[in-house]
Every structure is written in structure tokens, then in C-alpha cells.
Amino acid sequence: MFALADCNNFFVSCERVFRPDLRDKPVVVLSGNDGCVVARSNEVKRLGIKMGVPFYQIQNEVKKYGIVHFSSNFALYGDLSSRIMRILSRYTSDLQQYSIDEAFLDLSHLTTSDDMLSTCRTIRADILRGVGVPLSFGIAPTKTLCKVAADYAKHYEGYHGVSIIDTDAKRRKALSAYPIGEVWGIGRQTRQKLEKSGIRTALDFAEHSEVFARNLLGKTGWETWRELNGDPCIITRELPMKQSITYSRTFAHPVTDRALLEQAMCEFCANAALKLRKQQSVCRQMIVFAHASRFNDEPLPAITETVTFAQPTSNTQELIERLLYVVRSQWCEGVPYKRAGVILMGIESAAARQQQLFDNRDRDRDNRLQRAIDSVNAHYGRNTIRQAVYLPAGEKLFEVGRKSPAYTTNLREIITLKA
């Protein structure tokens, strides 16, 4: 069995940690460069304000309901995300982080549903008190069903944040009220195809034959069909709605040598960065992770960090510098690392990016060098020229714009306690 841990309205919840006065107030978080709504509190969702709308289009609602708005504070969100992921990794030997605010936990070390429920409730309470962010948990035999269960946990208070699909009756009941378009991995086109065949709910789809699913939708749809029927077959999948680039691997033999792990992770990072540049985009965040083998009884310390770039980047050197810093500061001697990877997130078009006021990198030079290296590698084969491994002096991060303070990442911006 797996559990999906999903932070509720993550960016808004992060802001509320340091602004308890906003607990029941309508709050939105806006994207940095174009001012679109990227996170909404439940109060805002109830007003019918949709994800992604430009802020100027909701000016009337903002005035009428007193909606509080923030620019994205990636330093804060990244730090709280890292804290949450590290707490989660204590409870499982296999944590798969999928986005800044979601991760799958392998619960195969627990035998009864009661154990799984009580474990997830404990984690939820620990994180709510210790970090201040509320989470929802969905427990189920497959990751696609976990997403369904977590949705129920999030939307119905009666579950107190944790719901489980552990019997066939529960599975059918959950799927019968679940619109097909909401299912993980079902995009708009697939939904339209299925609706033409009279399929409205996830259960309608699951009850069609396997042959129907495979013929109509191909491999991805077939996998979804199997997962909805309780057959776990999705090992990794990028979230359909969130842009991210993932390079990760399970090693054939656990890695206990730091240099080897660094080498492997630098390669993932270089490949991910190349993919990013090929689609003319840059990223704001990078998740770096390495986990121990799942065959250990005791969960071992994991390497996990969400790195935030003040200036969005696709530069291999810059990404690798930050990656190595994370690996070197979190590496534990003697831990057999089994799975490792790099996820690039907060992806935006390279053309749209703004020059930062306090940027201490020579971007033009970096880019020219990167282009030169890419063209050499395109000619003579990947990795002909690659980054040698070295640790740079600490780079200062500067953020500009109207956003909340960097409460947890800059000593000058911490909260004040009145005495």
C-alpha cells in the first residue's frame, strides 16, 4: 500500500504559518512574473475564483471580499517543503517526492489498515504542529487510487485529513462519485474521448474491459485503467498538470560512495538541464533527493532539498553547484543510497524572464559558455565537455518584488516577538 501526502493550498498555507491572523481569511498567491493566481485558500475557491486567472481580472472580488494577496515567496515555500519532506522521510524507507507539495510514501512495512491510518494521522499532526502546514493523506494499493483517496480526505472534513481505500466496496464507492476528468493522468483530450463513449465517472471507466481501455487510449490509459482496478503499475509519473522535468534512477547496487553518488546525480542534473534548454525554458526550483534502500527495517536518513533560484536558470553549472552543496551537506556515511534523482520545477519560458536587480552572476557569459558546451557535445557526443565537481563559495540569494519576508532563510527577515 502507498500513501499520498498532499499539502493543502500549499503556498497559502506557508504564508499563514507566519500570519496566523489570515487563518480564516481569503488569500491568494500570485506568480512572480505575470501576476496570475497560483494558489488559493478555501475561502477563495468557494468564491469561484479559478486557478491561473490574471490578478487584474479579480479586482472587484479582491475589494468586495478583502482578499489578501502575496507574490510568490519561493524561498519560504522551498524551505518549508524541505522540512515537510524530511519529516515524511522518517516514516518510510521509500519516499517519492512528486512536486513541491506532494509525495508518495511506501507503507509496505505496515500490515493493517489501522496501523496505516494511525501512522498517517501521526505524521499529519506532527507536521501541522511542527511546521504549521495542513496535509491530506490518501492511502490505497495504487498511486492513482491514492490521488482519489487524498481528494476525498481534502474535501470532506469527516475524514480529518486521512482517507483509505482498502476494500473493493470502498474503491467502487469512491470511484462512482469521482468524475473521469479528475483522474490522475486523464487529460482533456482523453476525457473527451471517454465521455463520447458514455463514460462519466472513474468507475464507469474501470468497469469497461481491459481491451477497451488499451485500444482506445494506448499504454498510458491502460495503466490508469489497471491502477483504478487496484493493480499497481505506475512507478513514476510526472504530475500531468504541473510542468516538471524529472531524472531519477534506482541503482542496481546501493551506492555508499559519495563521489559515485555525486557523479550520478550530476549526470541526472546535466540531462535535465539540457532538456530544459532544448525547450527554451528556465526553472525556478530544483528538488534534489537520494533515498536509502527499502529493505532496511529502520528508515535511514535521506538527502532531500528543494533548491530555489532567485533568478530562473537553465545553466548546468549553476544547477550542479547547488546540487553538490545539498549532497555534501546532507550525505551520511554508511547509508546505502538506492534511489536518487533531480526534479526541475517552476518552469517558465526563457524569453519571458526578467533581469534581476541584484544578480551576481554574469548571465550573458554563462549562457554563451553553455551554448558553446552544448554545441561541442552535440557534435562529439553527450558529456564530451562536462562539469568537473567543485564547491563554490556560498552564493547570496536576492529576491525583489512585493512578497512576504524570507522568514526562514534570511536572519534579517525573521519574525519579531513583542516582549
Binding site: P20, D21, R83, I84, R86, I87, D126, R129, G130, V131, G132, Q317, R365, R368, L369, A372, I373, S375, V376, I385, A388, V389, Y390, Y407, T408, L411, I414, I415, T416, L417, K418, A419
Partner: protein, 144 residues
């Protein structure tokens, strides 16, 4: 390390970026090489890194407890506040630091200042109140 320039496709870049070996070992190995661990005070001060936050003190209400304006405090949110703990509390729109007391008879909480010029605050249902975290250390700078 020298900053010789390497010319790749018309881009002048320091060779420093392309170093292939990190350390060059030469001469006699240092007998102290195996003893590089140094005391790290954060290990002592931060018991739970995931749930540790920091705040700056502003005001004099805790001065008799040795907590002065401008001090840095370490807050651990994972700890449950017990009677007599110093806490970071949120009350009526403001973060404050006080000693936490729970009155079983009256079934209410008190926030106790450590300065005779200030009065204890009785926390009732009407207050917007939460204990944000427990103060584990204060750091007071002596040398300006």
C-alpha cells in the same frame, strides 16, 4: 589556482571552472587529517532542525528572565508547551514572548511577563490565541 583562460568556441573562460581533480596530494600526509571534526554549536542549539525557527525580541517585558530587546531566540514548534515554558504566542494580532502558565482551577491560560512594570495576561476564549512554539534558547550578543 591560476586564472588562465581557456578559449572554447570564442568564449574566454577561466580554467578554474574545468578543474578535473579537486585535491592534489603532495608531500607528507598530515597526522591530524583524521581529526577534522570541530564543535558545531548548532548541534546543541537545534535539536529538531525541521521544526526550528528563529525570532528577534522587541521590548523589555522579559528582562528579569534575562531576555533582552534585540536578542535572538530559537523556537522549536515540535514541542508541546508545558506549564512554566517560555513560549512564542500569537495573541490578538501580535507575536509575543512570555512564560506560559495553565490554571487548572479556572481552566484558563496565563501569559506571564518577567518585569514588574508589566501585568500578566489572562487568555480567555475571546482572544485570538495560539502557542506558536516553545522557546528553547536565547542568544544575547555581548560584544558590540
Amino acid at each position: 589556482m591560476s586564472e588562465r583562460l581557456l578559449d572554447i568556441a570564442g568564449v574566454k573562460t577561466p580554467t578554474r571552472r574545468m578543474v578535473l581533480a579537486e585535491n592534489v596530494h603532495a608531500g607528507f600526509p598530515s597526522p591530524a587529517a583524521d581529526y577534522t571534526e570541530r564543535i558545531d554549536i548548532t548541534d546543541e542549539i537545534i535539536r529538531h532542525p525541521e521544526t526550528t525557527f528563529y525570532a528577534r525580541i522587541d521590548g523589555d517585558s522579559m528582562q528579569d528572565a534575562g531576555i533582552r530587546s534585540g536578542d535572538l531566540v530559537v523556537i522549536d514548534r515540535s514541542l508541546q508547551a508545558s506549564d512554566g515554558d517560555f513560549v512564542a504566542a500569537y495573541i490578538d494580532g501580535e507575536f509575543t514572548i512570555k512564560e506560559y502558565r495553565f490554571d487548572c482551577k479556572e481552566n484558563c491560560a496565563w501569559l506571564i511577563p518577567h518585569n514588574s512594570r508589566f501585568s500578566p495576561i489572562r487568555v480567555s476564549e475571546e482572544n485570538a490565541f495560539m502557542i506558536w512554539g516553545v522557546i528553547t534558547y536565547t542568544i544575547h550578543k555581548l560584544n558590540k
